[in-house]
Symmetry: C2
Subunit: 209 residues, 2 copies
DNA sequence: CATACATTGTTAAATAATTAACAAAGATTT
DNA sequence: AAATCTTTGTTAATTATTTAACAATGTATG
């Protein structure tokens, strides 16, 4: 698996979609699929599918297509999903609690190992069998559980501080749900997910039609 | 407000970020900001800020910058956020419940009016004062509450059916949290948010470093 | 086994988005 | 009031991404 070239960010998101389609196809007994099939199921063009895959190698057979299971395995490997990942969620508010229980993470190999909060009323409790720990024990627990991924679900005002703590503890990738821009050192992967902004895309387009 | 040209999708997301910075700046008594200030606070380039704004008009004063409050108001108007929007959430599972309670929506003018589910145990109950109704009453309630935005938080297998129902009831914009591609007629605005895929971006980049 | 057909992988063309450069316009200083 | 400084808005250049086209390659058919 080689990542020599710069791959468009969007490609990664599409690979994830492809993989979901492929595992479904495989379950249904569809052993072979074409770029056309994948494209139709995921809402992209066949050329896009082939281009995306071409970044990583040759996975198909000309005149035939792709073996569903095989391509699925390749993509999962590309995405780094051929193993389990431990994840920490920081913030046991509504969003943090929901994400802790969200089944979709488990389905893709993510294991929410622990939750952190600074509310004494929450510390020591559990959310669907996941322990809530104090901020103070973050570094310790991150090392214990070998956690490389962190989810920030705290208010905007605390997000940067939490990010710093996570990075210091050894976390390598962070998703920030707080609606604020935070910065991390260069070798840390950071993504921002702004739920309200998603609705704002809709209102923007609906506004003037 | 004119949307003659095709605006990059990313621009809309950035406008949302800018607006969040601007209201904060205004609260702190910073009446004037430059594209440089906005850029630094939101993690983009000053040229990007000016380009984004230029799609919609001239909001600044050369040699001076932008009036924080004024630009904030302009952007909110552009995004269609100068009024309240009623939103329906479909699915009262973990994710649906969390989104119903998520404070971030309210802060930006979104009002979760009702929740729909088909579980008899949930119908009739409330989640932080928001009623849970049956799928059957969806069309009726969407009209009663004048709901134009819908959030799909049901399992992938039910997502398309829910989308169809929402559209038929008069909803114009949809966010789909189910990890599946759904289709809607052309004049409906649809966005897909795949939470697991967000983590997969991280693992992709962490995999081979 | 030659011909027709299907579908990939790849190269080229077209489109889109970002960044850089700078003239225009207003504020400040001498 | 001329000269200098600042920062916008806009145009041009650059970079990135998507789409289209097609040669290469394998399968199926007569």
């Amino acid at each position: 698996m080689f990542k020599k070239f710069k791959i468009p960010d969007a490609t990664i998101g599409r690979l994830s979609m492809y993989s979901r389609y492929l595992i479904e196809a495989d379950k249904k007994g569809i052993t072979t699929v074409s770029s056309q099939h994948i494209a139709k199921a995921t809402g992209v063009t066949p050329a896009q599918v082939r281009k995306d895959l071409a970044y990583f190698g040759e996975f198909g057979t000309r005149g035939v297509g792709y073996n569903s299971r095989e391509l699925y395995n390749y993509i999962m490997k590309i995405l780094g999903l051929n193993k389990q990942w431990s994840v920490a969620i920081v913030g046991a508010g509504n969003l943090g609690r929901a994400l802790s229980q969200y089944k979709g993470f488990n389905q893709r190999g993510f294991n929410i190992s622990c939750i952190f909060d600074n509310d004494p009323k929450k510390i020591g409790k559990k959310i669907s069998n996941i322990n809530i720990y104090s901020f103070d024990s973050l570094a310790e627990k991150v090392k214990d559980f070998n956690i490389k991924l962190g989810i920030i679900a705290v208010p905007a005002s605390a997000a940067q501080e939490v990010a710093d703590k996570l990075v210091k503890a050894g976390v390598r990738g962070i998703i920030n749900f707080a609606p604020v821009n935070i910065t991390v050192e260069e070798n840390i992967i950071l993504r921002r997910v702004d739920l309200a902004a998603q609705l704002e895309y809709l209102t923007y387009y609906l506004e003037e039609i």
